[in-house]
Structure formats: C-alpha cells, structure tokens
C-alpha cells in the first residue's frame, strides 16, 4: 500500500510551482524532502491536502489506490492523509480536547464505531504525556497563544491521536528546542511501522539524526532532482544547495 504521486503539476495564483512531480511512498517508509526556500515543498504538501488556494493542473495522487486529487480536504484527511503544517493556525474558542475528539468522531461516523469519553481522555493524556504537553493544554484553544514549538507539538499530538496511514511533516522541526526536537522525533519513531508512511520536509540534517530516513530527496524548481539514502542529507548539509543549482538549474 502506498501513496503514489504521478506527474503532479500545481500552480498558485496562476504561477506554476510543481512540475510533473513524482514520488511514491509506501507505508512503513520514511522519506525526507530537502530543498531551497521557495522550491515548492509546502506546495506539494498543501496540494495533496487539498488546500483551496492550490490548483492541480495535471497528474494524479493515489492513496492506497484511491485518487485524492479533486477531493475535499476533509475527505482526503479521512482517507488517511495527515499533514503537520509549517505554520499551524490558531483557532480561538475551540479547545484541543474538543477539536481532536471531533476529528476522531468524524472518522468513526464513517466506520460506524464509537468511543467513550473515558477511553478518549485516557488515550489523549497518554499521548500528551509522551509528548510532554502539560495536561491543562486540553482546555486551551487550539494553538492560541502557543509558542512556536508548542504549536508543532500540538500538531504531532493530533497525528498521534488520529493515526494516519500517511503523514507529511512540513518543517515540524523548525522552532523546536533541542529537547522538543527529540520528543517529537520519538513521537514519530513510535508511530513508525508498517502502518504509516512518512514524508518529512526539513532544512536540517539534525532532525534526520533522530528520525533516520529510508530515502532522501532533493527538490529543486518544483520537482525532485536527486534521490538517495540517508547519506544524501549529510552531503547536502556539507555542500549546501549551490551545486544543485549548478547541476540542475538548467533543467528546470
């Protein structure tokens, strides 16, 4: 079972950002995507998660065989795609506990299942403890007044609770302090297994020391220009992106 992205082209505000983008992520795999600012990494993530600002002009994306391009964002999410945002949004007046519960309920509505409040809070507190999020956060409004790192941890908490089959983490490491980075990495590693495929978008090798990727891709000019193993991230860290531009700049 895999997430297959084939020749995906995406534009925003009439400007083409992704050009014939291809990537296949199987459940159980961890893929890292690195690449210079503005190259289209977040565009990829948001286009897959059906953000209304992004227009898919060509290509397909199959999640375990089901086409997700053209679906509403909530339908894509319920099919099993999770996206941790580069900039998580603040939602005043909606508590974390109610929010995650509503997200779980929406999934259960489809499967016809149910869960008790006690079981829910037990699971929620267990995940919060693991992510070292104080329990009083349950009654706080989603992301409102959170520090940058707290927002990222809150997104990871949601991921841990929703148990997606594919997760895209967009610069989840930015804004995290050294301890938080390790905690979040532990959270991902804990979920790592045959059930979930990960796409980790990052600028820094540091996160990849904690979450060892199976594949590293270099993105440039809206497509993947080079793929390799974990060692590719080290190479990038050492050499920067200058050589990418030299080698591939003419192609894009």
């Amino acid at each position: 079972m895999s997430l297959n992205i084939n020749n995906l082209s995406v534009s925003i505000a009439e400007r083409q950002i992704l050009k014939d983008f291809n990537l296949s992520v199987s459940r159980g795999e961890v893929h890292a995507i690195m690449g210079p600012n503005g190259t289209g990494k977040s565009t990829l993530a948001k286009a897959l998660a059906a953000h209304p600002d992004y227009t898919v002009t060509g290509g397909t994306a199959l999640l375990d065989g089901a086409e997700i391009i053209g679906l509403e964002p909530d339908a894509v999410a319920r099919l099993g795609l999770f996206m941790a945002f580069q900039y998580p949004v603040e939602i005043p007046g909606v508590s974390i506990a109610n929010f995650i519960r509503a997200a779980l309920t929406a999934r259960l509505k489809e499967s016809g299942g149910d869960f008790s409040a006690t079981a829910y809070y037990k699971a929620l507190y267990a995940q919060m403890d693991a992510l070292k999020i104080p329990r009083e956060f349950t009654s706080r409004s989603v992301n409102v007044g959170f520090s940058g790192g707290e927002k990222k941890r809150c997104d990871i908490l949601q991921m841990a609770m929703l148990k997606p089959s594919y997760a895209i983490l967009d610069e989840t490491d930015s804004g995290l302090d050294i301890d938080a980075l390790r905690i979040v990495a532990d959270g991902v590693n804990h979920m790592r297994g045959p059930g979930t495929g990960f796409v980790i978008i990052t600028h820094y090798q540091r996160l990849l020391n904690y979450i060892k990727p199976d594949y590293v891709h270099v993105m440039y000019g809206g497509r993947i220009v080079k793929s390799g193993g974990a060692e590719l991230a080290l190479e990038l860290e050492e050499k920067g992106y200058g050589w990418v531009e030299k080698e591939f700049g003419v192609l894009v």
Partner: protein
Amino acid sequence: MTDTFYMTEALSICSDAAFEAHLGSLKDMPSWLLDIKREAWARYKALPEPRRKDEQWRFASTDGLSLDPYSYRVPSADPQECARPLLECGGCLDFADDAYIGGRPLYEEAAARGVIFLPLDRALREHPELVRRHLFERMPDLGSEKYQALHVAMFTTGVFLHVPRGVQVELPLAGLHEAVSEGASVFPHTLVVAEEGASVTMFDVFRSREAAARHFACAAADICALPGANIRYRMVQAWSRSSLAFHMNSASAERSSSVDAITINVGAAHVRSEQHGRIVGRGGNVQMHSLTLATGTQEVDQRTLQTHDAGDGHSNLLYKNVLLDKAHTIFSGLIRVAENAQRTDAYQTNRNLLLSPEAEADSLPGLEILANDVKCSHGASTGQLDKEQLYYMLARGLHRSTAQQLMVFGFFEEVLEKFGNEQLAQYVRDLLQESFNAHELLNNSPDAT
C-alpha cells in the same frame, strides 16, 4: 392537554374587549396599578405603528409586526401543568401562558434574610408599596413605546425579586416563562431590585413549550442595582421559530453598583431586543453581552443604549451574532454620555459572522458624547469564517458542517464563559446545537435545493 388549559374565549389582542377581559381577571390589584394600566392601554392605542423610516426602526421589517395571528385569553393556571425543573438553582418561578404554575421555593437561607422572590402578581398583593416604588420606573428609551404601553396594559405576572440591603444571595434564582397554547400572547415582566450592597444572580428563560406553536411575547425586564449592589442577569430567548417577540430590558446601576447582563437569542421568527444600560450613579458599571444564532429567515432586531448620567461610570457592550441562511440581524447601538458624566469609560462592540451569502447583518454603532474627559469607543465588524482556520479543521478530517459549528461555538465562547455558571452555559450550548441540527435537517432534506 392544552385544550383544557383555558376556559375563556380567545380575543383579538388589540381589542378593547381583550383589555377589559384582562382587567376583569385581575384579582385584588391596587387601584393605582389599574390606573396605570388604563392609561397604558389608551397610550398603546394612540401611538402610531412603527415605520421602517423611523430612525429607531431602520432596517427592520415593520410589516412583520402584525398582531393579527395572535389572541389573548385570560391566564388561568392548571396546577397539574408544572414544567420540568430547568436548572439547579436556589429558587425557580415557572409560568405557563402568564399564569404562575409552581416551581421551587426560594431556598431557606435567602428567605430567612428577607429576600423576596415571588410571582409579580402575588408581590403586588403582598408588598404593593415596595413593588410600586420600582415598577415601570425604568423602561428602555429605544423606540418601542407602543409595545411598552401594550406590555404595561396587559401584563399579569412575572418575576419579582427583591434583595434587602447587604444580603448576598449565593445561589442563582431562575424564572421559566413558557408560552403553551397555540396563538397565545404573553406579557412577562421581570423586576429585580438589589438594595445597597446586595448581590444576586437571576436567570430568565423564555420559551415555547411546543416548537410547532406560534406565540406573541411582549416582555420586559427591569434590573436595578442600588448603590454598591451587584446583579448578574442572564436571559435566554428561545420562543418557537414562528413567534413574534419583544424584549424590552433595562439595566440600571446606581453609585458604585454593577449590573452584568447577558442576552441570548436563539428563538422567534422576529424578535425586537432592546437593552438600555444606565449609569445613574457615580462609578456605576453596566456590562451588556449578547449572543445570537439566527437561521432560516429569522430577524433579530437589536437596539441598545448605554446612557451615562453620572461620572466615573463604566459600560461595556459586546454583541456577537452568527447568521445562516437568509437570516437578518440589525444591531443599532448608541453610547450617550451626559455633560457631567466625566471620566466615563464606555465601549461598544458588535461582531457579526455571516455563514451564508444570503444573510444580512446591519450594524449601526453610534456615540453621543457631551462630556470632555471620557474614554469611549465603538466598533463593528462583519465577516465570514476565517478560511485558514476552516481549512485547518477540514485538514483534520472534520466534516465542513462540524467544523463550522465548532468555529461558531468558538466565536460564542467569549460570551458563554461570562455566564459564570456552567450549567446555564451548557443549556445554551444545547439550544444552539438544536438550532444547528434543525438547520442541517432542513438543508439536507430532499426538498432542499
């Protein structure tokens, strides 16, 4: 069951016959009250119908105000007909079609300290002079003179709450005002007076017992805090969705006292909600908060006035409206600061959230300031749900309607958390949820296009 509720015949509300029948039904009322009522009836008949071009009725659909569909019957209580207790409270007065039908007596501790909590008609018989001192002393000055006159002429009962000097009533007290029989008109009156340094919390719930019935409500609440007193007043308007309602409220704060009033609007086809906050003594404080969920073709016409007639006063108003479908809300608010009311702080905010392109929210904020040393501001905003917030919720798998509802509840939370009473807040959340569910049903029914 409601068929046997009344023995008397139904009369047109606007007829002299209705008024005479009403007067005839009042038992042992002081003659001054009958005089007031006769005078009010004459005034009601003499005053012109409001017109849309009147400043105080701007944007209102005044042709929706016809009283023809409603009738008047002399109230008569059926003692079997008690409503279910609504809230845990220190006392509750229950009414059905303007007849007192029971409730829960005032808790002993408060009664022992001299608190009076009675149906207004009984208070008029047992404490006529005390009631007379306050009754109809402070009607709002917001354009509904004609309906105020009707209210005064036709009211039978309501809540009378009097807290003596220095007494702190710890438990909230409640009034449940129900309209029951089809086409009934009701005229509930609430009068709350807290004497010097006293403190009390009062909840009023106005509703139709059957959602399918159609009612006319012409209600008034008069909340009066004497020097140093402290009153929290919360009212929930949940008349049936085919009803016409007037709520003409006044909150008045004397020296160093405070009134904290919250108005919830979820019911009625057309409601005129007037709220007049008055700073009448130095350092008085009036808080006026409101939340409204308007769906279908509901019209919620809100007129507010904050008058500062004494210095060092504080008033703060926040009205939050959410509109769906073809709903229409009107917020017209004015802050009026008298020349001598120096060092006044007065704020007014109206926020409207439009969930449908066909809904209409009119906002008319205003200031009229004669003093020179004041801090006043008013602001109004009308907008849609934040797209990025909505997307974030969708991206977590919430269905669009659930996400919208959570955001609306989030928008209302600012007012709900001011209740200071989780039970009442939950009661209101449930009402809002019912309203949403009804809306969903309607929009997902096969007939909907």
